[in-house]
């Protein structure tokens, strides 16, 4: 869990200014293990920083996503959800999504096998379709413990 200075540095590298909204949003995301929507983030920070605007939350999340700091999960319907993306491959994971209540569960099983297959597939597809692959998602849909 990198601290302020780490982020501050990475922001400067990207010609982006280090601002209070950005700091508190990153701070919240690094303290939370959940997958939060823009409105949830806004709500959680509003008490601490009532001046914050929902628009800024959206803009900040989009920036963080563009810079690769944050992963966006779009589970069918409902708002987009965001989580910090860890540095190395240790954090690589995918999701189980409950189609009834929207719960999102992280899983990290068979990551190595997955990455092997993904890599092979990526290479083949990139060549075959002249497509520049930047990321991949895997998700399992179904009913969680409570909803089944």
């Amino acid at each position: 869990m990198p601290g302020r200075h780490h982020w501050q540095h990475r922001f400067r590298e990207n010609v982006s200014r280090w601002t209070l909204p950005r700091e508190i949003i990153l701070d919240l995301l690094s303290r939370s293990s959940r997958h939060m929507s823009a409105k949830e983030i806004y709500g959680a920070l509003y008490a601490l920083y009532p001046g914050l605007g929902l628009t800024t939350v959206y803009r900040t999340l989009e920036l963080l996503h563009r810079l690769g700091f944050v992963q966006k999960v779009t589970s069918g319907d409902g708002p987009g959800r965001y989580e910090l993306r860890g540095e190395g491959e240790k954090d690589h994971h995918h999701h189980l999504i409950c189609t009834k209540c929207g719960r999102i569960i992280d899983y990290r099983d068979f990551v190595q096998e997955e990455l092997d297959l993904i890599k092979k597939t990526e290479e083949t597809l990139a060549k075959k379709h002249n497509f520049l692959i930047q990321d991949h998602n895997i998700e399992f849909l179904g009913l969680c413990e409570k909803c089944r």
Copy 2:
């Protein structure tokens, strides 16, 4: 590509009535190889059947999805897109999604290896999280030929 009677029969099984909107939407989907949004479907059918309502298109797609006849693709932003799901495993495929123009490309490479891994993962996860897995998605995100 199953015909009217096939669908009609499967609808009856599900206590759903066989109506004109349902017939023409299924017919369109089975003639199109694309991934169409509700509005695109509405637009394509409007000439033929001007009485059709966009609401009905949404409702029909949701029903088809719920019955498992149709697959929904939610590529980050933009409207949901729908495609008929083939009967057997011959049709099993996943997607390459261009994050710039939204283009969706089907791929069917390494399906067997994928299914092996998916199956193993599914079993493990279902047990570990007491989760009822009903479906899975794999998608590669990046830039298509035109957009890279």
